[in-house]
Amino acid sequence: MFSWFGKVSFVPYSKVSDFAVHLKDGRLMGSVCKKCGYKTIPPRADCPECLSGEFEFVEHSGKGTLYTWTRIDAAPTGFDDVIPYILAVVDMEGGGRLVGWFGETIKQEEIKIGMEVQLVPQIFDEEEIKVYYTVEKPGTTWGKAPAPHLG
């Protein structure tokens, strides 16, 4: 259910909806095109190179380096209860980029562009299942559920 992903979701369905299920189980997924091998994160169903729609999820280590960041003090609707929060744009190991939130292990004063970081899957403390990931110090560990049975 892609609507599980993010504090506020704007996308209920996607051909890569299972990204959110995997994230709940503690796995950050990119995708690989079954036909030509084009790899990317965040995952996408349709290959921009060979136009194939056949893809597979591929687990990513979550390692990356910080490209840029900003601390948001004026929030859009749905985010007022978590300001201030710090957004990061992370260049992922092996290519691709993700937007995320800085987590507990890194204080604002410690943030440096180019620093090595670890993306860690998280689940919100709410009744509805909602998942996200945070940007933490390298070496941070987390639990992964046994391989999921989807569908």
């Binding site: 892609f2 992903f5 993010g6 504090k7 506020v8 979701s9 704007f10 996308v11 996607s14 965040p42 490209y67 840029t68 960041w69 900003t70 601390r71 948001i72 003090d73 004026a74 929030a75 859009p76 609707t77 749905g78 985010f79 978590v82 929060y85 957004l87 744009v89 691709g96 980029r97 993700l98 937007v99 995320g100 939130w101 562009i113 996200y132």
Partner: protein, 386 residues
């Protein structure tokens, strides 16, 4: 090949226009433009309307504007590419004229942004970026440009003070523009003390939403010369347009806008000019960093030197190129559908020599640089006065 010329311009007051509907705002600017051109509605062949629909209660805004301006049954349609809608509408009119289908086209940029409830406006604010992978984390329009600024500061040593110099310049000139939302100068101290929005930005780094309208009337060369007897025609000689990924995750870097660089190259080539030929420019200063990056993307200075450029006052009247001497988005406010047309209005006025105390001396070639969103669209137009 015949050229496309501007024969009429009009501009209304930008601001919190709770006194008028979007079509009434459009009419203000339309009236000025028609009077300026000295034509009646029979001279028009079509209109192109620029507005961003999601901010209006009225669906299909183009229809209600066309009706109120008493222009039925002329053809019209809406052009929308976020904040660059105005320039997109001008490019559309240019294409319509060049195709031979419509010899005289009125471009109407009009926008209300204050009709919605605050919560709805704030919700729209959170959907500026790519909503599947980015907005879910609460990214905002200032947040994105703030991330560009953070990276630019890291790579080139640009400082907060240099960023705020853009706001100071634009307020300096906006104070002399009766159509601007903010008509007061600001100081660096006041700017630095304003509320934080998204590091490194504070309130004074950011443009404000506004309501407003502007109109441009364009015509095919021979028709322009027939209609505008005083010969004060400004030619649209170069049009450039390029796109970049919606998502910042797929840009090559976040220290410039590739769409702006490419659009400028096209426009310069078409108009047969270089960056150094531009005397006056209106660039898209939605945030202070955006204007700094524009100096670099448009070739007014080298990559990374934008901070120095503004610090050395090279973007003021008397400098290398006068940038945003109508106050820019920062001082005028940013009614997103109208901004692109407002930029063209200023450049045409400058090239006609009608800007009084804000006049750039010997302005013969001018440029508008209009960006949509975070640079997923950019339109650059080069105007010339013979």
């Amino acid at each position: 090949m015949s050229r496309v010329g501007v024969i009429g311009i009009g501009h209304g007051k930008f601001g919190r226009r709770s006194d008028a509907t979007v079509q009434e705002l459009a009419f203000e600017a339309y009236r000025y433009a028609m009077q300026d051109a000295g034509i009646g509605r029979d001279a028009l062949s079509a209109t192109v309307i620029a507005a961003v629909p999601e901010y209006h209660k009225q669906r299909s805004v183009a229809g209600v504007v066309q009706e109120y301006l008493n222009l039925n049954p002329l053809p019209t349609w809406l052009t929308e590419v976020a904040c660059s809608s105005g320039s997109a509408a001008i490019r559309t009119a240019y294409m319509a004229i060049k195709s031979g289908l419509h010899p005289v086209v009125a471009v109407i940029g009009c926008q209300k942004m204050t009709e919605l409830e605050t919560a709805d406006i704030l919700a729209l604010m959170g959907r500026v970026g790519e909503v599947q992978w980015e907005s879910v984390f609460g990214t905002t329009f200032p947040g994105y440009y703030a991330m560009f600024a953070t990276r630019h500061m890291h790579e080139f040593g640009t400082t907060r003070e240099q960023l705020l110099q853009v706001a100071i310049k634009n307020h300096h000139y906006g104070a002399k523009n009766p159509n601007a939302l903010f008509q007061k100068e600001i100081t660096l101290e006041k700017a630095l003390a304003s509320d934080p929005v998204s590091t490194p930005f504070c309130v004074y780094d950011c443009c404000a939403n506004a309501d407003g309208a502007a109109v441009l009337i364009l015509a095919e060369e021979s028709r322009a010369k027939e209609l505008r007897k005083d010969g004060k025609i400004v030619w649209l000689d170069g049009v450039g347009c390029a796109t970049a990924s919606m998502s910042v995750l797929r840009r090559p870097d976040l220290v410039g806008l590739p769409s702006a660089k490419q659009a400028a190259e096209q426009a310069y080539r078409m108009a047969e000019v270089k960056a150094s030929d531009i005397k006056v420019a209106d660039v898209h200063d939605c945030f202070t960093i955006a204007e700094l990056m524009a100096y670099e993307d448009l070739g007014f200075c080298e990559k990374g030197q934008g901070g120095k450029f503004i610090e050395e006052k090279r973007a003021y009247i008397g400098g290398d190129v006068a940038v945003n001497v109508d106050g820019g988005l920062k001082s005028k406010g940013h009614p997103i559908g109208a901004t692109g047309v407002s930029m063209a209005y200023e450049i045409v006025k400058q090239l006609r020599g009608e800007c009084g105390e804000r006049q750039v001396p010997n302005a013969d070639v001018g440029l508008t640089h209009n960006v949509g969103g975070i640079g997923q669209y950019c339109f650059v137009h080069v105007f010339r006065r013979d």
